[in-house]
Every structure is written in structure tokens, then in C-alpha cells.
Amino acid sequence: MNAPYSRRPWLRWAAPGAALAVIIAGSQAAAHWPADAATNLPPRTAAQLLTDVQRAQPTALSGTVTAKMSLGLPDLPTSGGNPTDPLTLLSGTHQAKVWYDGDRQARVAVLGDSAETDIVSNDKGLWVWQSADRSVLHVAEPSGAKGFNAYGDHARSDDRARLPEQLSTPEGVAAWALKMLDPTTSVTTTSNDRVAGRAAYELVLAPKTSNTKIGSIRIAIDADHHIPLRAQVFARGANKPAVNVGFSSISFTKPSASRFDFTPPPGAKVTTPKKALHAAPKAVRHDRLGGTANTELPRVVGKAWSSVLVGKVPTKPAANTKDRSLQDALKLLPEVSGSWGHGRLLDTALFSAVITDDGHFAVGAVQPATLYAALGRN
């Protein structure tokens, strides 16, 4: 019965070996398949692309947004499962689902490990649900104001009338933006990109100076609907993006209306801020100015891409637990010193930051040496 094997018993091992090879090859082919599908769009200039984006009509969509951060930061242990923790968002891969009805209603679900944060905007206002602590934040829509509308600012014609003649048309705005960018940045386009299975143009912004860590910023724009599909930031000389945020799947069908319903589940903590949300920043700013009036305001050293923000860290008398863990994290950073003083350095793929022992900081998308020079000028 097993005649071919009786003389060469090892031949049987070809079966599992072949199965393993087929599985590995198949998975690799499946992973790279969408990239191989070529697109051939008619070329468009940067000015045309920028005009297209401004002319884009709000369109209903649903999709998944994937953000991949490769800043070179150490992978932090995920804390408590809250997917919108800012420290967690700085590294690793994150996913969010997005629904938009093309008008005023939208829902964003940030997916975590057995946790989820939902941001829902509907007729009743803005809801923020966090499954990690089962809390709901509800901001009722201010009476008479417009609800969520991603394109709301562009749609207001009375504002546009007050703008100078040159900026009153999408073409004018595009030309103005390109003129402003021209001394520092080269703007080019590509026309053969593919994002989430959709043909896309790419707007490539590359610094003209070499004194920055940023190699290029690439924004993919859907060829049909003219909405941004993906943004990537490349470090100088890198062939993989340090920041990659974009749709991994997208569909332009209108989500069902029930997608935007939200009723706080029983047992959830619902908080409703007394004042409308837009009043909050003013209060915060007042508090900050009042509390730290004696500290100098941060200032910018250098120009455009190689600019460095230099300032003094505001000293807070009451350090809460979060601040303390931040202090501990600071101690993990390598120590550096020079003629400018002594401090700790955070050096990532895209930016670097120094905090000196006497409370000064310098941060910029530049090499640490440029930071030291900026600090030395103090």
C-alpha cells in the first residue's frame, strides 16, 4: 500500500513540508497582493490637487483607520486598556473605525484590547463613551450652532467674502499655499498610489534644508472623492514611514442611521459639562497664564523645518501620580551635557527633545546638536 515510501521513508515528510511552504508562500502573497495592483491615473499638479481637496463635497463613508507609529520609542506596556491614552498612542499600531453620513452625524470607535472608546456626534450632541471605566461624557449641542461638520468652515460663504480677493477661490488658496511653501519645501505629486484598494494621488512635501530629521511628508488623496486617505511622515533617509495614519479599508456607502444612535447603557457614569465645550479652552488658558505668570513664554529658534522650540517647563506645585510616573520615565532617558548645561535627551526618528536639569526644554524635528546650539543661545 505504501510502496513508494517503503524504500524511502523520509519521503513522507515531504507532505507536511510542502503544506508549510504553501501556507507561508500563500500568506506572503496575500499580504503583498493589493500593493501589486498598479494604478495609472492622469498626472495632476500640486495646485490642481489642492484645489480638488477644497472643492471636495462631503461624502458619506465608513472604514477602518490604522495608525502605525515607528518613532523609535520603546514599546510601552499598554496601561489599563484605555485605547485613547496619549502615551499608548505614541507607539505601536492602533485601529479606529469611522462612520460618517456625509452631513452632520459621525462616529469614531477607537479599538483597544477588549476595550473601546466611541465618539459619537448626532442630533443630541457629542457623546464620548469609554468602555474601560464605563463612562459617558455628553456635551449637548449648543442651541443655534451648527453640529459636527468637517467641512463647515469651508461652507460658510459670509466668511469667505471677507477674505482678500486672491483667497476667495480654491485655486487662489492653493496657489497662495504653494507660494508660501516654496522657499522651504519642494512640493511634488505622484499619480500611481493605492490606499485601501482605491486609486490615489500623492502630495509629497520634502524639506529643502538637510538640517531636519524629516525626510518627507506624503499625503494620499483619493482620485474620485478627493479626500485624504493616508498621511505618512518619513524620517530622512528612511524607506519606511515613522508615522503612518490612513484608511486600511474604506467604503463610500452611507452607514445606516442607527449607527449614529447612542444611549448611555445602564450602569454607566454620565457626566454632562455645565458649560459648552468651546468655553473650556478660554478658562484653561486663563488658569495657565495666572499660575505661571513668572515663567517666560516658549520661543522659536531657527526657521521653518529646522526650527526649535525653546522654553521653560512650568513648575507645578502639586504633582499628581501621572506627573510622577512621567518623572520616572524621564529618568530612563540618557543623560547629556555640554556648554549649554546638563540634561536628558529624547531622540526619536522624527524629532528630538532635551530637558535640562534647571527646567529648560528644547524640542524640534532636528538633530540633538541643533537643540544644544539653540539652548546655548539662551
Binding site: I23, G81, T263, P265, A268
Partner: protein, 291 residues
Amino acid sequence: MTTTRSSPLVPRSDTSRGARKVGRFFLSELGLIMGRRRNQAGLLVLAAMPVILGVAVRLTESNPRGDGPPSFVDDIVGNGVFLAFAALTFELTLFFPLAIAMVSGDAIAGEAHSGTLRYLLTVPAGRTRVLIVKYLGIVAGSFIAALTVTVVSALVGILLFGTGPLTTLSGDQISLGTGLWRLLISALYVAVGLCALGALGLFVSTLTEQPIAATVAVMIVTATMWVLDAIPQIAWLHPWLLVHHWTDFAELMRNPPDFSGIGDGLLVAVGYAVVCLLAAWARFDGKDITS
């Protein structure tokens, strides 16, 4: 099909008789697995875990919500059905793999150890058929284990905490019927993952004549995969680990349910099962049976 029937070499009556023989062989194997006292005790332990978990949560119900790891434990108080999801999550780390490691260790190595394997092979059944029936026994064990835990924990949970509409991770509520339906899918998905581990166990079982060695080896492989899965620096390896997608049935508790994790998990499970079963066949078919 018709060409097979008319083929003089393979008479139809013979294949159907073969299928019936496999069926009878499988039933006797299932009786053997379920009849073993250690397997009965193991199933009892599996079923006892959710009871302990449920009573513990019930007794400490008044405590404020802790900062512990995210799981379904916090939701149990609100709805007893979540006890079943929590139990499946808990038992996947240790108890389910241990049960499958035990059953698969017994499959070939156990027979070899007690000296019954050669008698099994004197019956004109063919080694491939013995292997198929042994694997079907492990598959049955996986489904029995997962479904027993699910049913017991859902009943205990409903008894202790009551039930009603379920709150999903997205903050929306789904009806009890929809929730139970998703629980059933979760249980079946867990069982499929255990079947893949069982295939690995069957392969290990053909390598040794000591059932305990096979059991320990499967547990070491499982624990190693859990550890590797927790190290973020080797994220490229994670999609290839059998256990990586095991707890992805939690994605069903979003609204709308997200099946992508389960889909990937099923692909990985099928891949492991195919490779391990072929390896088990390659080993067992060419093995010298001396005991």
C-alpha cells in the same frame, strides 16, 4: 463521483463499509476518552472554574471597580451571560490547553505506553485510519470541553446575577438572544482553536511512548506561545502564533461585531492543524511499533 463508482478497483460498497467502520471505531474511541476517570475529573475541573469565578465576584460585588486588566469580569455583575465570556477567556490561558494536552498525549503515546498500540494495529484498520479516529476523538473532546464550560458558566451566571440585554464594548446594547448567539459562536471558535492545538498534540504523541512527556511538551509549547505573544518587540511573529487570535472572540462584543480577528484565527488554526496532522501521519506511518 461516477468515475469512482465505476472503477473496478474501488467498489462502492467497500468505501461505505469503510466509512461505517470509521464511525464505529470513532464511537468506541469517544467512549474510551469519556470513560477515563482522569478525563471526567478534568471536565469537572473545567466546569468548576466558572462556578468559583461567579461566586467570588458575587461575594465581592460591593467592592468598587479596580484598576485590573480589562476583561469581562467587570461586566458580570450587570449581566450573568458575561460570566461565560470571562470563563472562556480565563480557561484559554491554562485549563483548556491542559485538557487538550492530556487527551492528545493519551491518543498515541498512551496506547504505546500501555502496550495496546500494536493490538490496535493488528486490526486491519490501517495506520492512517487509526490516526484519523484518534484525531476525531481529540476534536470531540475540544468541542465537549468548550461547550460544557460555556453552558455551565452561562447558567451559573444567569442564576447568580440575572440577565437581560447585553452592553457591548461600543456602549450600545444588544438583545439577550443576539448575545447568546454570539456566545455560541465564541464557544465554537474556542473549540476550533483547541482542535488545532490537539493536532499539534497528536503529532507530539507520535514522537514518544510516554503520554506524560507528550502532555508536558504541548503545555510547554502553549506557554511559550503565550509568552512570545506578550512581548511587543517581536510583533512580526505574533500573527504566526496559534494563541495570538484565541481571545479575539471578544471582538464579537463590539457593535457591529468585528469578525476579522476570528477569521484570521481560523486561518491560523487550519494552518497549524494541516501541517501538524501531515507531520503526525509522516511520523506514525513510518514508525516502528514495538510496544
